[in-house]
């Protein structure tokens, strides 16, 4: 992308919304979430974004505050921001080029954004984009890495073209093993491994895997991959390459650091529906699908020990089957009513009126299960990099007498 301007990411100076640690903690308590570790972290508005919780300035890593998960679709300007490298280009949509190359292609291509918009059928779907390390900050004992709370995720309506349609035009040969995707960002040091991720053929050719140019009816935000990003429904965000500028059809498995050395988990600890066999090496397997999960987003106590509880649940695509909310250490579960269904990769809202509860302080747990028989775990599954935290969501509530 020689014609695009390159920038080193800097936090904005003006129009900054900084809340004191106490204020942030109070706001979180008001939502029914006790995230003590958030105290001391700041809410700050990046260009084009509302105030998000800052983890790091550079590269920019900011998570979505819990209040935005009360709507099923996450607003673009509240959508989380996550980068591995600090040199982030601003790409003019008119200048953008996508290269489709590699030894396993009949006809290498270069496509403009206009060609993608006009020469291929447009497809829309709703899908959750969730960082593999979402909730890492809640592991106990702690695990090194970005100390995310609940907000390294978002749900959006993505519009774009099927990756399979683009690959069909380029003519994928039968010696293809994986497809690799290169993002336009870069590290300040030349030797730092470029951020390149690959997908197995089955996932790359799946009709729901998209090259998206719109998010919730608008062009992608600058900090969420403008002008084109990969959308891999059901899989964690590490594969959702932002500013994808190059696709390579490989005849051997990708071997760069971001595949061979990162985003890996002990295989036996995480039974997966969708595996990535060409990237497995013994017990170390790549993170793939999003684990079934839920979040309590609102609680409202009323007279008579009643508590209205609302939230969201999601999984990798089998679809949410049920959500139970329980009090008294999980002994008294009540089933929530599932809300609007925006598709199998979307957040699914739920709510219930739990009763009766005894007055005073209580802990409520939410637990989601999906149609594949997967369910959230009571304790997060320990793993060296702190991925796939999907323990029951627990909140402290105060019940009126």
């Amino acid at each position: 992308m020689g014609s695009s301007r390159m920038t080193v990411f800097r936090a904005p100076v003006a129009r900054r919304a900084v809340l004191a640690a106490l204020g942030a903690a109070a706001a979180l308590q008001a939502t029914g979430t006790a995230l003590a570790r958030a105290a001391g972290q700041l809410l700050e508005a990046l260009p084009g974004k509302r105030a998000l919780r800052r983890l790091t300035h550079r590269p920019p890593n900011y998570e979505t505050p819990l209040e935005y998960f009360r709507s099923v679709l996450t607003p673009n300007d509240a959508f989380f921001v996550r980068y591995h490298h600090a040199v982030i280009p601003q790409i003019d949509a008119a200048e953008f080029r996508l290269e489709v190359v590699g030894a396993a292609l009949e006809r290498p291509l270069t496509l403009t954004l206009a060609q993608l918009r006009t020469e291929f059928p447009a497809v829309e779907l709703v899908a959750v984009c969730q960082c593999s390390g979402n909730r890492r900050g809640l592991f106990d004992p702690p695990v090194p890495g970005l100390q995310w709370g609940h907000g390294a995720m978002g749900n959006a309506r993505w519009r774009g073209v099927r990756l399979a349609d683009v690959l069909a035009r380029a003519g994928l040969r039968n010696n293809a093993v994986e497809l690799a995707f290169d993002a336009a960002d870069a590290a300040p040091l030349e030797g730092t491994p470029d951020y390149v991720k690959s997908l197995p053929l089955g996932k790359a050719l799946h009709p729901d895997t998209l090259l998206a140019y719109e998010m919730n009816g608008a062009p992608l935000p600058e900090l969420n991959g403008h002008p084109l990003r990969l959308v891999v429904p059901g899989w964690t965000a590490t594969y959702w390459i932002k500013q994808v500028t190059r696709i390579e059809a490989l005849t051997a498995p990708a071997s760069g650091f971001w595949m061979a050395g990162a985003y890996r988990m002990p295989r036996s600890a995480f039974p997966l529906l969708e595996r990535f066999p060409s990237q497995e090496s013994g017990e170390r397997a790549p993170v793939t699908e999003i684990a079934v999960n839920s979040l309590i987003t609102s609680t409202e106590s009323s007279v008579g020990g009643r508590m209205r509880v609302g939230g969201i649940a999601w999984d990798a695509g089998p679809g949410i089957d049920r959500v139970e909310v329980s009090a008294e250490g999980g002994r008294r579960g009540q089933r929530a009513e599932l809300g609007e269904d925006l598709g199998r990769y979307s957040f699914r809202p739920w709510q219930l009126e739990y009763s009766p509860l005894s007055a005073g302080a209580q802990e409520l747990w939410a637990r989601a299960s999906n149609r594949a028989g997967q369910t959230q775990v009571e304790r997060p599954i320990a793993n060296p990099s702190g991925y796939q935290h999907n323990a029951f969501h627990r909140v402290r509530v105060e019940v009126k007498s």
Partner: protein, 116 residues
């Protein structure tokens, strides 16, 4: 929406002259008050640490890990930065930086009570 990122160079120039450019960017936007990148904590080895580490990332990564920043953690992180991210540190520099981090960003460091 006005983008306030600081445009500096094309990619090729950027990659060739990354260290120099970053220093310029930092100088150009210094003097910001709240929300500015955190300063490195006091301690022996601070200057070397800032020179070698802050060209690629802000130092809030250190603040974030300080509540459980044992010596073993910092050793593992510095090793990862050298092996995986290709941070240009020789053995003596790596050792000095680990010492600094363990002292300044450990759970019992003098700054820990202030930062948390």
């Amino acid at each position: 929406m006005s983008m306030r990122r600081v445009t500096i160079l094309t990619l090729s120039l950027m990659m060739a002259a990354a260290m120099v450019s970053l220093v310029e960017v930092r100088a150009a936007s210094s003097g910001t008050a709240s929300g500015a990148e955190p300063e490195a904590r006091a301690g022996e080895g601070r200057e070397l640490f800032v020179a070698r580490c802050s060209s690629c990332h802000s130092l809030d990564y250190m603040e974030m890990h300080s509540r459980f920043g044992t010596r073993a953690l910092w050793e593992a992180e510095v090793t990862k930065m050298r092996n995986a991210y290709k941070a240009p540190l020789d053995d003596a520099e790596a050792k000095a930086i680990v010492e600094y981090l363990a002292q300044a960003y450990g759970p019992t460091s003098p700054a820990a009570s202030v930062a948390r």
